[in-house]
Symmetry: C2
Subunit: 637 residues, 2 copies
Amino acid sequence: MNVKREVPIQSVTVNDPFWSKFQNLVTDVVIPYQEKILGDDIPGVEKSHALANFAIAAGQQEGEFYGMVFQDSDVAKWLEAAAYSLAIKPDVKLEKRVDDIIETIGKAQADDGYLNTYFTIKEPEHRWQNLQECHELYCAGHMMEAAVAYYETSGKDRLLKIMEKMADHIDARFGPDKETGVPGHQEVEIGLMRMYWATGKEKYKKLAQFFIDQRGQDPEYFAKEAEKRGWTHFGMNPVDQKYSQIHAPVREQTTAEGHSVRAVYMYTAMASLAAELDDPSLKKACQVIWENITNKRMYITGGIGSTVQGEAFTIDYDLPNDTVYAETCASVGLIFFARKMLDMDVSNRYADVMELALYNGVLSGMQLDGKRFFYVNPLEVNPGISGKLHNHEHVLPERPGWYACACCPPNVARLLTSLAKYAWGEDEQTIYSHLYLGGTAELNKADVSVVSNYPWEGNIKYTVSPKQEESFALAIRIPGWVKEVDISLNGEKLGKDVMKNGYMYIQRVWQADDVVDLTMELPIRKIYANTAVREDAGQVSIMRGPIVYAFEGVDNGEQLQALRIRKDGNIQVSKEDKNLLENMRVLEVEGLRVKTSQKLYSETRPTSEPLMLTAIPYFTWGNRGLNQMRVWMYEES
Amino acid sequence: MNVKREVPIQSVTVNDPFWSKFQNLVTDVVIPYQEKILGDDIPGVEKSHALANFAIAAGQQEGEFYGMVFQDSDVAKWLEAAAYSLAIKPDVKLEKRVDDIIETIGKAQADDGYLNTYFTIKEPEHRWQNLQECHELYCAGHMMEAAVAYYETSGKDRLLKIMEKMADHIDARFGPDKETGVPGHQEVEIGLMRMYWATGKEKYKKLAQFFIDQRGQDPEYFAKEAEKRGWTHFGMNPVDQKYSQIHAPVREQTTAEGHSVRAVYMYTAMASLAAELDDPSLKKACQVIWENITNKRMYITGGIGSTVQGEAFTIDYDLPNDTVYAETCASVGLIFFARKMLDMDVSNRYADVMELALYNGVLSGMQLDGKRFFYVNPLEVNPGISGKLHNHEHVLPERPGWYACACCPPNVARLLTSLAKYAWGEDEQTIYSHLYLGGTAELNKADVSVVSNYPWEGNIKYTVSPKQEESFALAIRIPGWVKEVDISLNGEKLGKDVMKNGYMYIQRVWQADDVVDLTMELPIRKIYANTAVREDAGQVSIMRGPIVYAFEGVDNGEQLQALRIRKDGNIQVSKEDKNLLENMRVLEVEGLRVKTSQKLYSETRPTSEPLMLTAIPYFTWGNRGLNQMRVWMYEES
């Protein structure tokens, strides 16, 4: 049973006041810029050498490998983003460039199917000896995703064939009766599942299943591997089992542990397999871990991974705002996981988190000009401390340029260019609208066009044109935070009886140009954290729709910690727009400024003066120079 | 001009319900235990080998040097504490042990006066090449302090002669027209000043002055030294100038920087010299740094040094409670600094901080049984995080046993056994009572006996018996936090006109058994931090007298961050005493417990229920097993 309910990227035309801007940014700025980075065409930026590595491995140029052991994955992620970009916005020059690169990749592949420029150029004798550190399966997984993406959007199968050969090579080596290795950084499982869906070849699904089932069967696997090979690449600790989630078989894992990106990539593959295999124990594991993340280990922005040490999850409710990690890639991965949970179980519990991470923890990763990126997405920055003091070095208060380890920017690029996959779903009975994405989706059962000014306004208009006269449902997610919602069909109000797990199921024999109008109020909401979250004690954050708001010094003056949000004060949409982004809603918040003695410590009771505070969408923070920022603000209690 | 106004330890007999307990703990538990540690007589404890190193260097036993390069200083600090202990409580066996150790030290000294077991045993060719890392001057300074302490308390000069020979050796090497080195860890300057006061030899003062004046003249001194010698001991960064306070000449330093213990030891020596030399620019530098520390970089407990990285000061108002360093030794050093400021300028601005650090940041370092010690003195601990998670590893939630680097326990021991130096002062015109220390002080001008149940009660009775009929002042400090104070002489109330810089100067021709009664109210005070201190925002702490209070989970239940202190609630001394310490005052505080939704994030406005909270003196925390602790508590606002 193929339960993948995603729709093809190329069947969706995005025309959305919010998302079109970001997609254009990716197609017009991010992808061309990243191409230049990969080709070392931008002076003054840390050398990538990623394309050169392929050319060298292909025998097209002389030279040595340069870069991280996983440098190939930068090319793979860029190719995947470029594939989606071409589906959104055809570009002959870009397509030619993609095809040329794919040709080089083909030439860099060994006769036995092996593809990895680091080992091919530098240490051919060390192939497959160091799964813990060396990312061979990780790079393969990303290239499989690129291959499938380009095949699906363009119909061209050159890269798909290359990666089939590589997948066959891997399959020849690893499996229940072969080597029982597992990847140090999960990703190949996702790539293999996509290869399976694209090619229908069961062996790829079985290989993905093997890697998932095998993981954690021997928690000492990496320690033994390290001892066996007797060499190290990074000096990684082979006995830190949780870092790579090999501390227990995946079905026995009940908490999100270790490196957060590795974790969510694994959970994504687990959810894909659980749905595909209808495997109850694997489904249960996914649900338990999902609950652990979203109820105990997630920032309000959809950020995950609260410590820089190992870029990892820590313990329940440990969510420091200023020493946070919350890597952009981890929120991207949480979206992947959520999307696969939706394939398994259609519920707004998954879609709401997917939306939350998308509008907040992921978008915050990118400067509004598309030129600079955050890896770490703090909920509090303090100039002079953030990015400077011990344990704050990683929390940059402004987005820097390209990193040597360039994982996040291409991850954002491939996500934003493939939004259609996350917005829509379709199965035999139902079209699912998980996210509100303006434009037209040409689906199997109908063309559906959507007009929306979400997330700023809550009215969404769906026009359905069925392909043939048949009864099917249009299931539209209603976010859990919505209290007042009107939904009407051709002007006639529908009842709530069609709501199931947070989706409105409108079942009928659809007629051409049937119109569904969804009208949700987007009240401004004050959000409180569970008292177990020490770092949010006494504080409140503000949301409107899926948007988390933040307070910056440039709007609110110094010492944001001295501000209070009034307990019963008014919060309203401001007339000012701050010129950061078209349509963006700025909030005016009734507040107080607390004043204390000038002494360090004093008996003088603080006084306070009323003032109006300004809040901007969290994802737009850090676009107006170095200044303080907070998401959580103390409340007058 | 000798401006040192300290009084000799042996002239003061302590008989104080509070301090006698701690002094007895040091004499009866800490010093004997530490002696065993130094002699490697305690199984299961990290080997010290410190006494063995001296015996080996002395040719009394075979073996190799073991321990840190500054291992000798453990013996020195213990000897200093033992010298004071013998003055408090004669002990023939201990005295014999001290004398034997001193004999061994004498034999370990080279013919040219050089004394350091590490270099003598292990690397004689490397003497004096690595001032940055190798602590030769530091160890010498501590041994000078021990030598002076034992000479002053016992009259025996064997160790003093040894250290004169070492001081002469140093003097022959370093100076304006000789080598211009400065110590990596300041301390020898303090030792040299004490040698000067004990022997009257100007050259020791001049050498101390040289080390202070020379410091920072060449900020690259350590970098050049490292390059010149071409070897390293620890791999310390020779270009981190602030760590060792060589970034600028000391008179140009305006903020407390770098390793906090090095810093305060240096400031102590600077203040000693400033007073001694009546040097206005050095005085000014001391005052500016004092203000920087106490108005911008000090915890409410008198703890200093807010980061584990380099055990250092950071920036103004950066005072995290849970990732704090606040080393016990740094608070001990702040007391040294304060005491020297008092010699320069009698004012309660110095004595109040001295008292604050003593009753809070220092006493908290020791378990109430004297057997375990904190190096790091947090203002917040959270089991599961403190001592475990990244950047919290150093913040232990319970006092551990003896450390390999054993600086703090002997530092506490020597401070608590020499309290008389801090409590009393005397010059030609005046007897100063800086701290209220019950017992009798036999001073030059008078015997003064003090009866006090401070810090629990605020009435102190002084009985003065003058040595001869003359007019002099008894100057009694009145803490800055005192609002209501009555002071009477032989039952007759005195006016406030005799108050100057926080001291009551009672000038008269004293008669035998003149009685001064000081009665201060000890109201319970709510203390607020400057809004610039992010980590204390919205919070309040509670003091009574000099005692900072803390809240522990064992008394107040889980999630201390969910508790609120009522804005206008009552706080009173409880009838319960918790059996932690005789006389100790426990506080009952009207509070609230906030309850939120069980969800991680929720729109549900928190509710609260009233409850009574219990606060205990901060220094007694961590004596009842692993539990949460906070000094700063959220206030209902």
